[in-house]
Protein backbone atom coordinates (compact mmCIF):
# COMPACT_ATOMS: atom_id res chain seq x y z
CA UNK A 1 0.00 0.00 0.00
CA UNK A 2 1.79 3.11 -1.19
CA UNK A 3 -0.28 6.17 -2.03
CA UNK A 4 1.30 9.51 -2.64
CA UNK A 5 -1.90 11.44 -3.22
CA UNK A 6 -2.28 12.30 0.47
CA UNK A 7 0.25 13.93 2.82
CA UNK A 8 3.06 14.11 0.27
CA UNK A 9 4.48 17.40 1.59
CA UNK A 10 2.85 17.53 5.01
CA UNK A 11 6.16 16.76 6.79
CA UNK A 12 7.91 19.88 5.53
CA UNK A 13 8.81 22.54 8.06
CA UNK A 14 7.54 26.00 7.25
CA UNK A 15 5.64 28.88 8.88
CA UNK A 16 2.48 27.69 7.08
CA UNK A 17 2.92 24.09 8.21
CA UNK A 18 3.21 25.16 11.84
CA UNK A 19 -0.17 26.94 11.88
CA UNK A 20 -3.17 25.39 13.59
CA UNK A 21 -5.32 23.51 11.03
CA UNK A 22 -8.50 25.34 12.11
CA UNK A 23 -6.87 28.70 11.54
CA UNK A 24 -5.64 27.58 8.10
CA UNK A 25 -9.08 26.29 7.14
CA UNK A 26 -10.78 29.55 8.13
CA UNK A 27 -8.14 31.66 6.38
CA UNK A 28 -8.24 29.68 3.13
CA UNK A 29 -12.04 29.50 3.06
CA UNK A 30 -12.26 33.27 3.68
CA UNK A 31 -9.67 33.99 1.00
CA UNK A 32 -11.58 31.86 -1.52
CA UNK A 33 -14.84 33.68 -0.75
CA UNK A 34 -13.11 37.05 -1.13
CA UNK A 35 -11.47 36.10 -4.45
CA UNK A 36 -14.60 34.52 -5.89
CA UNK A 37 -16.75 37.49 -4.88
CA UNK A 38 -14.63 39.80 -7.04
CA UNK A 39 -16.83 41.22 -9.83
CA UNK A 40 -16.56 39.29 -13.07
CA UNK A 41 -14.26 40.79 -15.67
CA UNK A 42 -12.01 42.44 -13.06
CA UNK A 43 -8.45 41.34 -13.79
CA UNK A 44 -6.23 43.80 -11.87
CA UNK A 45 -7.27 42.73 -8.34
CA UNK A 46 -6.71 39.10 -9.34
CA UNK A 47 -3.07 39.96 -10.11
CA UNK A 48 -2.64 41.21 -6.53
CA UNK A 49 -4.30 38.09 -5.13
CA UNK A 50 -2.02 35.95 -7.30
CA UNK A 51 1.01 37.80 -5.96
CA UNK A 52 -0.07 37.22 -2.36
CA UNK A 53 -0.78 33.57 -3.03
CA UNK A 54 2.63 33.19 -4.66
CA UNK A 55 4.24 34.57 -1.49
CA UNK A 56 2.18 32.07 0.52
CA UNK A 57 3.41 29.23 -1.72
CA UNK A 58 7.03 30.33 -1.18
CA UNK A 59 6.48 30.52 2.58
CA UNK A 60 4.93 27.05 2.63
CA UNK A 61 7.95 25.53 0.82
CA UNK A 62 5.62 23.26 -1.14
CA UNK A 63 7.38 22.79 -4.52
CA UNK A 64 5.92 25.11 -7.14
CA UNK A 65 6.24 22.28 -9.68
CA UNK A 66 3.83 20.19 -7.62
CA UNK A 67 1.33 23.05 -7.38
CA UNK A 68 1.60 23.71 -11.12
CA UNK A 69 1.01 20.02 -11.84
CA UNK A 70 -2.16 20.14 -9.71
CA UNK A 71 -3.30 23.21 -11.64
CA UNK A 72 -2.53 21.49 -14.95
CA UNK A 73 -4.64 18.46 -14.02
CA UNK A 74 -7.77 20.51 -13.27
CA UNK A 75 -7.16 23.28 -15.79
CA UNK A 76 -8.92 21.57 -18.76
CA UNK A 77 -12.18 21.50 -16.78
CA UNK A 78 -11.75 25.04 -15.51
CA UNK A 79 -10.77 26.44 -18.91
CA UNK A 80 -13.67 24.63 -20.59
CA UNK A 81 -16.15 26.02 -18.05
CA UNK A 82 -14.71 29.53 -18.43
CA UNK A 83 -14.60 29.34 -22.24
CA UNK A 84 -18.25 28.33 -22.25
CA UNK A 85 -19.15 31.83 -21.02
CA UNK A 86 -18.45 33.63 -24.35
CA UNK A 87 -19.20 30.49 -26.38
CA UNK A 88 -22.67 30.09 -24.84
CA UNK A 89 -23.42 33.69 -25.80
CA UNK A 90 -21.93 33.33 -29.30
CA UNK A 91 -24.07 30.26 -29.97
CA UNK A 92 -27.41 31.83 -29.21
CA UNK A 93 -27.32 35.63 -28.88
CA UNK A 94 -26.87 38.19 -31.65
CA UNK A 95 -23.34 39.44 -31.92
CA UNK A 96 -21.58 41.45 -34.60
CA UNK A 97 -17.97 40.36 -34.28
CA UNK A 98 -15.52 38.77 -31.91
CA UNK A 99 -14.50 42.32 -30.93
CA UNK A 100 -18.01 42.95 -29.59
CA UNK A 101 -17.58 39.94 -27.30
CA UNK A 102 -14.52 41.45 -25.61
CA UNK A 103 -16.27 41.92 -22.23
CA UNK A 104 -17.38 38.28 -22.32
CA UNK A 105 -13.83 37.11 -22.99
CA UNK A 106 -12.64 39.28 -20.09
CA UNK A 107 -15.22 37.56 -17.89
CA UNK A 108 -13.97 34.16 -19.07
CA UNK A 109 -10.36 35.07 -18.18
CA UNK A 110 -11.37 36.36 -14.73
CA UNK A 111 -13.46 33.23 -14.05
CA UNK A 112 -10.57 30.95 -15.02
CA UNK A 113 -8.04 32.90 -12.92
CA UNK A 114 -10.35 32.91 -9.88
CA UNK A 115 -10.83 29.15 -10.15
CA UNK A 116 -7.09 28.49 -10.57
CA UNK A 117 -6.21 30.72 -7.60
CA UNK A 118 -8.71 28.75 -5.50
CA UNK A 119 -7.05 25.51 -6.65
CA UNK A 120 -3.62 26.83 -5.58
CA UNK A 121 -4.99 27.85 -2.17
CA UNK A 122 -6.56 24.43 -1.66
CA UNK A 123 -3.34 22.70 -2.72
CA UNK A 124 -1.29 24.74 -0.23
CA UNK A 125 -3.86 24.02 2.50
CA UNK A 126 -3.81 20.26 1.95
CA UNK A 127 -0.04 20.09 1.45
CA UNK A 128 0.73 22.04 4.60
CA UNK A 129 -0.78 19.63 7.12
CA UNK A 130 -1.58 15.98 7.65
CA UNK A 131 -4.94 15.22 6.10
CA UNK A 132 -6.26 13.74 9.34
CA UNK A 133 -5.31 16.98 11.14
CA UNK A 134 -7.39 18.96 8.67
CA UNK A 135 -10.32 16.59 9.24
CA UNK A 136 -9.84 16.99 12.98
CA UNK A 137 -9.76 20.76 12.51
CA UNK A 138 -13.05 20.63 10.61
CA UNK A 139 -14.61 18.57 13.37
CA UNK A 140 -13.41 21.08 15.95
CA UNK A 141 -14.94 23.84 13.82
CA UNK A 142 -18.30 22.11 14.36
CA UNK A 143 -18.83 20.59 10.94
CA UNK A 144 -22.01 18.44 10.97
CA UNK A 145 -21.37 15.48 13.28
CA UNK A 146 -22.50 13.01 10.62
CA UNK A 147 -19.93 14.33 8.13
CA UNK A 148 -17.29 14.25 10.87
CA UNK A 149 -17.87 10.55 11.53
CA UNK A 150 -18.19 9.71 7.82
CA UNK A 151 -14.94 11.56 7.03
CA UNK A 152 -13.10 9.77 9.81
CA UNK A 153 -14.35 6.41 8.52
CA UNK A 154 -13.64 7.27 4.93
CA UNK A 155 -10.11 8.38 5.68
CA UNK A 156 -9.39 5.12 7.49
CA UNK A 157 -10.57 2.86 4.65
CA UNK A 158 -9.91 4.83 1.50
CA UNK A 159 -6.43 3.31 1.06
CA UNK A 160 -7.64 -0.26 1.51
CA UNK A 161 -10.42 0.26 -1.02
CA UNK A 162 -8.05 2.02 -3.41
CA UNK A 163 -5.81 -1.04 -3.34
CA UNK A 164 -8.90 -3.11 -4.09
CA UNK A 165 -9.70 -0.85 -7.05
CA UNK A 166 -6.12 -1.13 -8.35
CA UNK A 167 -6.26 -4.92 -8.08
CA UNK A 168 -9.56 -5.13 -9.98
CA UNK A 169 -8.27 -2.66 -12.60
CA UNK A 170 -5.15 -4.78 -13.12
CA UNK A 171 -7.30 -7.89 -13.49
CA UNK A 172 -9.62 -6.09 -15.92
CA UNK A 173 -6.78 -4.74 -18.05
CA UNK A 174 -5.04 -8.10 -18.25
CA UNK A 175 -8.23 -9.85 -19.33
CA UNK A 176 -9.76 -7.17 -21.60
CA UNK A 177 -7.01 -5.00 -23.05
CA UNK A 178 -7.64 -2.34 -25.68
CA UNK A 179 -10.10 0.43 -26.28
CA UNK A 180 -13.63 0.86 -25.01
CA UNK A 181 -16.12 -1.27 -26.90
CA UNK A 182 -19.75 -1.98 -26.19
CA UNK A 183 -18.94 -5.43 -24.83
CA UNK A 184 -16.41 -3.91 -22.46
CA UNK A 185 -19.06 -1.82 -20.73
CA UNK A 186 -20.23 -5.02 -19.07
CA UNK A 187 -16.74 -5.55 -17.67
CA UNK A 188 -16.67 -1.98 -16.32
CA UNK A 189 -20.08 -2.53 -14.73
CA UNK A 190 -18.93 -5.74 -13.10
CA UNK A 191 -15.79 -4.04 -11.80
CA UNK A 192 -17.79 -1.16 -10.27
CA UNK A 193 -20.21 -3.64 -8.67
CA UNK A 194 -17.30 -5.69 -7.35
CA UNK A 195 -15.71 -2.66 -5.67
CA UNK A 196 -19.09 -1.77 -4.10
CA UNK A 197 -19.68 -5.33 -3.04
CA UNK A 198 -16.30 -5.87 -1.40
CA UNK A 199 -16.67 -2.49 0.32
CA UNK A 200 -20.09 -3.45 1.57
CA UNK A 201 -18.88 -6.74 3.00
CA UNK A 202 -15.92 -5.04 4.57
CA UNK A 203 -18.20 -2.42 6.11
CA UNK A 204 -20.25 -5.14 7.80
CA UNK A 205 -17.11 -6.69 9.33
CA UNK A 206 -15.80 -3.29 10.37
CA UNK A 207 -19.11 -2.30 11.92
CA UNK A 208 -19.30 -5.50 13.95
CA UNK A 209 -15.75 -5.10 15.23
CA UNK A 210 -16.38 -1.43 16.06
CA UNK A 211 -19.49 -2.34 18.03
CA UNK A 212 -17.62 -5.05 19.89
CA UNK A 213 -15.08 -2.40 20.96
CA UNK A 214 -17.82 -0.11 22.25
CA UNK A 215 -18.18 2.34 19.36
CA UNK A 216 -20.96 4.85 20.07
CA UNK A 217 -20.40 7.41 17.36
CA UNK A 218 -17.24 9.13 18.62
CA UNK A 219 -13.65 8.12 17.99
CA UNK A 220 -11.82 8.05 21.31
CA UNK A 221 -8.34 9.47 21.76
CA UNK A 222 -8.64 12.32 19.26
CA UNK A 223 -5.74 14.64 20.06
CA UNK A 224 -6.32 18.15 21.30
CA UNK A 225 -5.53 21.06 19.03
CA UNK A 226 -4.07 24.19 20.50
CA UNK A 227 -4.16 27.50 18.74
CA UNK A 228 -1.44 30.05 19.43
CA UNK A 229 -1.84 33.82 19.36
CA UNK A 230 0.66 34.05 16.52
CA UNK A 231 -1.50 31.62 14.46
CA UNK A 232 -4.50 33.93 14.85
CA UNK A 233 -2.36 36.99 14.12
CA UNK A 234 -0.89 35.57 10.87
CA UNK A 235 -4.22 34.30 9.57
CA UNK A 236 -6.00 37.57 10.42
CA UNK A 237 -3.22 39.47 8.68
CA UNK A 238 -3.65 37.22 5.63
CA UNK A 239 -7.44 37.73 5.53
CA UNK A 240 -7.18 41.49 6.11
CA UNK A 241 -4.83 41.94 3.13
CA UNK A 242 -7.23 40.00 0.90
CA UNK A 243 -10.14 42.02 2.24
CA UNK A 244 -8.25 45.27 1.70
CA UNK A 245 -7.71 44.42 -1.98
CA UNK A 246 -11.36 43.45 -2.30
CA UNK A 247 -12.70 46.60 -0.66
CA UNK A 248 -10.38 49.03 -2.44
CA UNK A 249 -11.79 47.82 -5.74
CA UNK A 250 -14.95 49.87 -6.32
CA UNK A 251 -15.53 49.25 -9.97
CA UNK A 252 -18.73 47.30 -9.51
CA UNK A 253 -20.39 44.37 -7.81
CA UNK A 254 -21.73 44.21 -4.32
CA UNK A 255 -19.76 42.26 -1.75
CA UNK A 256 -20.11 39.34 -1.16
CA UNK A 257 -21.92 38.70 -4.41
CA UNK A 258 -20.35 38.91 -7.81
Amino acid sequence: MKHSFIDKYSDLESPVHSLDPRVKLIAVFSAIIIIVSEPRGEIIPLVFYALLIFILVLLSRVPTGFILSRCLIVSPFILAAAAFYPISIMLTENYQSLQSLRPEFKVAVSVAVKALLSVVLLTVLVSSDKFHNLLLGMRRLKMPKLIGILSALMYRYIFILYDEALRTTRARDSRTPGKLRTGKLKTFGNQSALIFLRSWERSQTIHNSMLSRGFEGEFPGMRKLSVRRTDIFYSLFFIIIFLAIRLTNHSGGCFPFN
Binding site: F5, V28, F29, I32, I33, I35, V36, S37, R40, R70, I73, V74, F77, I78, A81, F84, Y85, S88, M90, L91, E93, K114, A115, L117, V119, L122, L125, V126, F131, P144, L146, I147, L150, S151, L153, M154, Y155, I158, L161, Y162, E164, A165, L180, T182, L185, F188, G189, N190, A193, L194, I195, F196, L197, S199, W200, S203, I206, M210, G217, F257
Partner: protein
Protein backbone atom coordinates in the same frame (compact mmCIF):
# COMPACT_ATOMS: atom_id res chain seq x y z
CA UNK B 1 -19.43 17.57 -13.42
CA UNK B 2 -17.43 19.02 -10.51
CA UNK B 3 -17.92 22.78 -10.59
CA UNK B 4 -14.78 24.59 -9.43
CA UNK B 5 -14.77 27.68 -7.20
CA UNK B 6 -15.31 30.94 -9.07
CA UNK B 7 -17.26 29.47 -11.98
CA UNK B 8 -20.79 30.15 -10.75
CA UNK B 9 -22.28 32.95 -8.67
CA UNK B 10 -21.28 33.18 -5.02
CA UNK B 11 -24.87 33.54 -3.81
CA UNK B 12 -25.82 30.21 -5.45
CA UNK B 13 -22.86 28.56 -3.68
CA UNK B 14 -23.77 30.04 -0.29
CA UNK B 15 -27.44 29.09 -0.74
CA UNK B 16 -26.47 25.53 -1.68
CA UNK B 17 -24.19 25.29 1.39
CA UNK B 18 -27.11 26.29 3.61
CA UNK B 19 -29.47 23.75 2.00
CA UNK B 20 -26.78 21.03 2.20
CA UNK B 21 -26.16 21.86 5.85
CA UNK B 22 -29.89 21.52 6.57
CA UNK B 23 -30.10 18.19 4.74
CA UNK B 24 -27.03 16.86 6.56
CA UNK B 25 -28.49 17.94 9.91
CA UNK B 26 -31.75 16.10 9.15
CA UNK B 27 -29.86 13.04 7.83
CA UNK B 28 -27.74 13.01 10.97
CA UNK B 29 -30.83 13.04 13.17
CA UNK B 30 -32.62 10.34 11.21
CA UNK B 31 -29.79 7.95 10.35
CA UNK B 32 -29.51 5.08 12.85
CA UNK B 33 -26.03 4.73 14.34
CA UNK B 34 -25.64 1.19 13.01
CA UNK B 35 -26.00 2.43 9.42
CA UNK B 36 -23.25 5.07 9.66
CA UNK B 37 -20.20 2.78 9.15
CA UNK B 38 -21.85 1.23 6.09
CA UNK B 39 -22.55 4.66 4.61
CA UNK B 40 -18.99 5.79 5.38
CA UNK B 41 -17.43 2.79 3.68
CA UNK B 42 -19.75 3.13 0.70
CA UNK B 43 -18.82 6.80 0.46
CA UNK B 44 -15.19 5.70 0.37
CA UNK B 45 -16.09 3.14 -2.30
CA UNK B 46 -17.79 5.89 -4.30
CA UNK B 47 -14.65 8.01 -4.02
CA UNK B 48 -12.39 5.12 -5.01
CA UNK B 49 -14.61 3.87 -7.85
CA UNK B 50 -14.51 7.36 -9.34
CA UNK B 51 -10.70 7.09 -9.43
CA UNK B 52 -10.92 4.11 -11.79
CA UNK B 53 -10.47 5.44 -15.31
CA UNK B 54 -11.46 3.83 -18.60
CA UNK B 55 -9.95 4.50 -22.01
CA UNK B 56 -12.47 6.38 -24.17
CA UNK B 57 -12.12 8.25 -27.49
CA UNK B 58 -8.40 8.84 -27.09
CA UNK B 59 -8.76 10.05 -23.53
CA UNK B 60 -9.90 8.48 -20.28
CA UNK B 61 -13.16 8.89 -18.43
CA UNK B 62 -14.22 8.02 -14.93
CA UNK B 63 -17.64 6.98 -13.71
CA UNK B 64 -19.92 8.95 -11.44
CA UNK B 65 -21.74 5.91 -10.08
CA UNK B 66 -24.44 8.10 -8.54
CA UNK B 67 -27.09 5.74 -9.91
CA UNK B 68 -25.57 2.77 -8.08
CA UNK B 69 -25.05 4.93 -4.98
CA UNK B 70 -28.77 5.77 -5.05
CA UNK B 71 -29.77 2.13 -5.56
CA UNK B 72 -27.53 0.80 -2.79
CA UNK B 73 -27.67 3.63 -0.25
CA UNK B 74 -31.10 5.12 -0.94
CA UNK B 75 -31.82 8.20 1.20
CA UNK B 76 -28.40 7.89 2.82
CA UNK B 77 -26.64 8.59 -0.48
CA UNK B 78 -26.48 12.36 0.08
CA UNK B 79 -24.18 12.35 3.15
CA UNK B 80 -21.94 9.75 1.46
CA UNK B 81 -21.73 11.84 -1.72
CA UNK B 82 -21.10 15.04 0.26
CA UNK B 83 -18.20 13.43 2.13
CA UNK B 84 -16.76 11.85 -1.04
CA UNK B 85 -16.87 15.26 -2.76
CA UNK B 86 -15.25 16.93 0.26
CA UNK B 87 -12.37 14.46 -0.09
CA UNK B 88 -12.15 14.95 -3.85
CA UNK B 89 -12.04 18.73 -3.51
CA UNK B 90 -9.36 18.62 -0.81
CA UNK B 91 -7.18 15.84 -2.17
CA UNK B 92 -7.46 16.33 -5.92
CA UNK B 93 -8.97 19.85 -6.12
CA UNK B 94 -11.80 18.43 -8.23
CA UNK B 95 -14.53 20.91 -7.38
CA UNK B 96 -13.99 23.56 -4.74
CA UNK B 97 -14.76 24.18 -1.09
CA UNK B 98 -17.22 26.96 -1.87
CA UNK B 99 -18.97 24.92 -4.56
CA UNK B 100 -19.04 21.79 -2.40
CA UNK B 101 -22.68 22.38 -1.48
CA UNK B 102 -23.71 22.94 -5.10
CA UNK B 103 -21.85 19.85 -6.33
CA UNK B 104 -23.22 17.70 -3.51
CA UNK B 105 -26.80 18.85 -4.13
CA UNK B 106 -26.47 18.25 -7.89
CA UNK B 107 -25.06 14.76 -7.55
CA UNK B 108 -27.16 13.93 -4.49
CA UNK B 109 -30.28 14.81 -6.49
CA UNK B 110 -29.11 12.40 -9.20
CA UNK B 111 -28.71 9.62 -6.65
CA UNK B 112 -32.06 10.44 -5.03
CA UNK B 113 -33.95 10.29 -8.35
CA UNK B 114 -32.12 7.02 -9.14
CA UNK B 115 -33.37 5.67 -5.81
CA UNK B 116 -36.95 6.79 -6.57
CA UNK B 117 -36.79 5.08 -9.97
CA UNK B 118 -35.33 1.96 -8.39
CA UNK B 119 -38.26 1.82 -5.95
CA UNK B 120 -40.79 1.51 -8.78
CA UNK B 121 -40.95 -2.21 -8.15
CA UNK B 122 -43.63 -2.87 -10.77
CA UNK B 123 -41.28 -1.74 -13.56
CA UNK B 124 -38.99 -4.55 -14.77
CA UNK B 125 -35.44 -4.41 -13.45
CA UNK B 126 -33.90 -4.27 -16.93
CA UNK B 127 -35.64 -0.91 -17.37
CA UNK B 128 -35.24 0.45 -13.84
CA UNK B 129 -31.49 -0.21 -13.58
CA UNK B 130 -30.32 1.62 -16.73
CA UNK B 131 -32.84 4.40 -16.09
CA UNK B 132 -31.44 4.87 -12.57
CA UNK B 133 -27.90 5.02 -13.98
CA UNK B 134 -29.03 7.48 -16.66
CA UNK B 135 -30.75 9.78 -14.17
CA UNK B 136 -27.68 9.63 -11.89
CA UNK B 137 -25.82 11.64 -14.54
CA UNK B 138 -28.53 13.53 -16.37
CA UNK B 139 -30.16 15.11 -13.28
CA UNK B 140 -26.85 16.60 -12.05
CA UNK B 141 -26.13 17.76 -15.63
CA UNK B 142 -29.56 19.44 -15.81
CA UNK B 143 -29.06 21.19 -12.48
CA UNK B 144 -25.55 22.23 -13.44
CA UNK B 145 -26.81 23.73 -16.70
CA UNK B 146 -29.48 25.66 -14.78
CA UNK B 147 -26.87 26.97 -12.32
CA UNK B 148 -24.62 28.11 -15.18
CA UNK B 149 -27.60 29.83 -16.78
CA UNK B 150 -28.46 31.56 -13.48
CA UNK B 151 -24.84 32.69 -13.27
CA UNK B 152 -25.12 34.68 -16.49
CA UNK B 153 -24.06 32.11 -19.10
CA UNK B 154 -25.89 32.35 -22.42
CA UNK B 155 -28.61 30.02 -23.62
CA UNK B 156 -25.92 28.13 -25.57
CA UNK B 157 -24.95 26.46 -22.28
CA UNK B 158 -27.56 23.79 -23.11
CA UNK B 159 -24.94 22.34 -25.48
CA UNK B 160 -22.95 21.41 -22.37
CA UNK B 161 -25.96 19.37 -21.30
CA UNK B 162 -25.81 17.54 -24.65
CA UNK B 163 -22.21 16.49 -23.90
CA UNK B 164 -23.40 14.78 -20.71
CA UNK B 165 -26.03 12.84 -22.63
CA UNK B 166 -23.28 10.59 -24.01
CA UNK B 167 -21.86 10.07 -20.52
CA UNK B 168 -25.37 9.28 -19.22
CA UNK B 169 -25.86 6.54 -21.83
CA UNK B 170 -22.48 4.95 -20.96
CA UNK B 171 -23.30 5.17 -17.26
CA UNK B 172 -26.74 3.60 -17.79
CA UNK B 173 -25.16 0.60 -19.57
CA UNK B 174 -22.61 0.20 -16.79
CA UNK B 175 -25.27 0.53 -14.06
CA UNK B 176 -27.37 -2.12 -15.78
CA UNK B 177 -24.40 -4.47 -15.89
CA UNK B 178 -23.47 -3.71 -12.26
CA UNK B 179 -27.03 -4.38 -11.07
CA UNK B 180 -27.11 -7.67 -12.97
CA UNK B 181 -23.84 -8.65 -11.30
CA UNK B 182 -25.11 -7.69 -7.83
CA UNK B 183 -28.40 -9.54 -8.43
CA UNK B 184 -26.43 -12.67 -9.25
CA UNK B 185 -23.83 -12.42 -6.48
CA UNK B 186 -25.48 -10.58 -3.57
CA UNK B 187 -29.14 -9.79 -4.26
CA UNK B 188 -29.90 -8.56 -0.70
CA UNK B 189 -27.80 -5.43 -1.33
CA UNK B 190 -30.36 -4.32 -3.93
CA UNK B 191 -33.34 -4.41 -1.59
Amino acid sequence: MHIADGIIDTHICIGAHLVSGGLLYVSGKKMPMEEIPGVGIMGAALFVASLVHFPFAGTSIHLGLFGIAGIVLGKNAFPAIFTALLFQSLIFQHGGLLTLGVNALNMGAGAYVAWLIWRMWKVPEYIRAPLAGFSGIIIPALLMTAEFRLSGYGRGIVYLFAVYLVAAFIESAITFSAVKFLRRVKPEILN
